[in-house]
Every structure is written in C-alpha cells, then in structure tokens.
Amino acid sequence: MKVLSALAVGLIFGLGLTVSGMINPAKIIGFLDIGGAWDPSLLVVMASALAVASVGYRIVLARAKPAFEDKFQLPTKTEIDRPLMLGSALFGIGWGLSGLCPGPAISAAALGDGAVYVFLLAMVAGMLLKDGWKSA
C-alpha cells in the first residue's frame, strides 16, 4: 500500500508542478529575473502550497501515526549550520543558472527535451559527488 500511495502522491505532486507551469524553466527564470519582465507566478504557487500544507500538516501530525508506516519520519536537526547555508547557496546558484530543480526536472523528463536529461545526469553526478560511495 505504501508503494501505491507513493505513486499516487508522486502523480499529484507532478500534476501540481505541470498545472502551475513549474516544469518550464522559462517560468522559473521569469520569477527569479527581478531585473527583467517579472513573472510572480512562482510566488503564488508557493503561497498556495504553503497554505494547504501548513493546515494539512497540523491535522495529520496530530495523529498517532501515518496510515502505512509505524511512525512519522521528521527531520530532527534544528541548528542552522554551515552545510545548510553553503548547500542552499550552491543549490540556488544552480537553480538560477538552469531554471530547474529536482522535482520539475524529473517531471519535465517526460516532455523529451534533451537538455533535461543533461540536467538530470549532472544532478545525479552532483549528488554522488556529495554522498560518495560505499567501498566495494
């Protein structure tokens, strides 16, 4: 069941990205381009997502446990540390350079533009560079 629910949630998330135009790099850059013809759509997307999630999380997290698992798995760190700051800064540069980030890139892969595959391969490389390998 948890596999089916994950599939369904991925579909809904991807539909949200598609409907809102977030899988279109031009639209992302349009938002980030405050010096140019500014498209505030991403702001509306965020506000809407936050409105739903903040109410929804409060309701769901008040429960004893999720439907198909034994417990909720929430992040435990609270400190604002250097990796958080540096990682976020680097992520932002990458996002600003490409107009893509993980979720939208995966969904956009379905549209077949080769540039998205270049992004995804590079993203995998970047993740592997950070996370490393287990020794054979």
Binding site: L11, F13, S20, P25, S98, P102, A122, D131
Partner: protein
C-alpha cells in the same frame, strides 16, 4: 518573458501542498524530492535500502504526471529551456551537490519545511532564493540583455 498565470499557479500550488500532506498522512515522510531521489540512487552507491520501493514509485509518479495531464485533456505543457546547455549542465551539478549538502531543495525546505515553520528550512529557503535571484541578475548583467 513568461506571463503571470495566477489561477493555474494557485491550483498547481494547492495540488503540491496536498501531495505533501498526503505523503505525510500515508507514508509519514517529508515530500522533499532531492532526498527522495537521492534514496533512489542508493543501490548505485552500493547501499541497500529497504525503503527503495516507495521512493521509486514516487519518482515514477512524478515522471508520468505530465503524460497523465495530457491524457486528461491538458495541452502539451509549455517548455522553454531558456538557457545555454552549459548553464543547464553546471546548474545540474550544483543543484545535485547543493541539495545534498543543504539537506533539501524547493520542495523539502521551501514547501514542507516552511509550512512546518522549521527554522532551518526558512533560512535555507531564504538563502537559495537570494542566491538564485542574484545569479539570474548577474547573468543578465553579464550577457548585456
């Protein structure tokens, strides 16, 4: 460059929020795509993971979504890469590395973390928004556009 589309933005955003809540309700997880996707890479890295199946299913859902959208009658989604390939490549590297170093991305920190009022996520989101905006600004200046 692109048009302001408040209605579809609001609807799409609501779906994203709904998906995040749904994943918490069913699987008890934060809908942070960088983290979920990194978990899919685990076998490549030689790390066995018991939670690989649900991660793969989630990613499959993301992949299929635009096709489902069109099957349900939606027009082919607009896509304009708007960047030279070199930018896309370097961008991918930085997004991959940065999201792992910073423990999240626009979905994990920006949507899930901020809605939970996580201090770390608010700081992370403000940071990547600022650096992204600065990057686009500098590119604009340098390209003389």
């Amino acid at each position: 460059m692109t048009e302001f589309t408040p209605l579809s933005a609001a609807l799409g955003g609501a779906l994203i929020g709904l998906a995040a809540v749904a994943l918490m309700a069913t699987n008890g997880r934060i809908a942070g795509i960088s983290g979920i996707f990194a978990g899919v890479l685990a076998p490549v890295r030689g790390e066995g993971r018991a939670d690989f199946p649900w991660r793969l299913a989630f990613v499959a859902g993301l992949l299929i979504a635009p096709l489902l959208y069109q099957a349900l009658g939606g027009l082919r989604p607009a896509f304009d890469i708007a960047r030279p390939l070199g930018f896309t490549l370097i961008g991918g590297l930085l997004v991959g590395y940065g999201s792992r170093l910073g423990s999240g991305c626009t979905s994990g920190h920006g949507v899930c973390g901020v809605s939970r009022v996580s201090k770390r996520s608010v700081v992370a989101t403000a940071t990547f928004m600022a650096s992204a905006i600065a990057t686009v600004f500098i590119v604009r200046l340098l390209s003389g556009a």
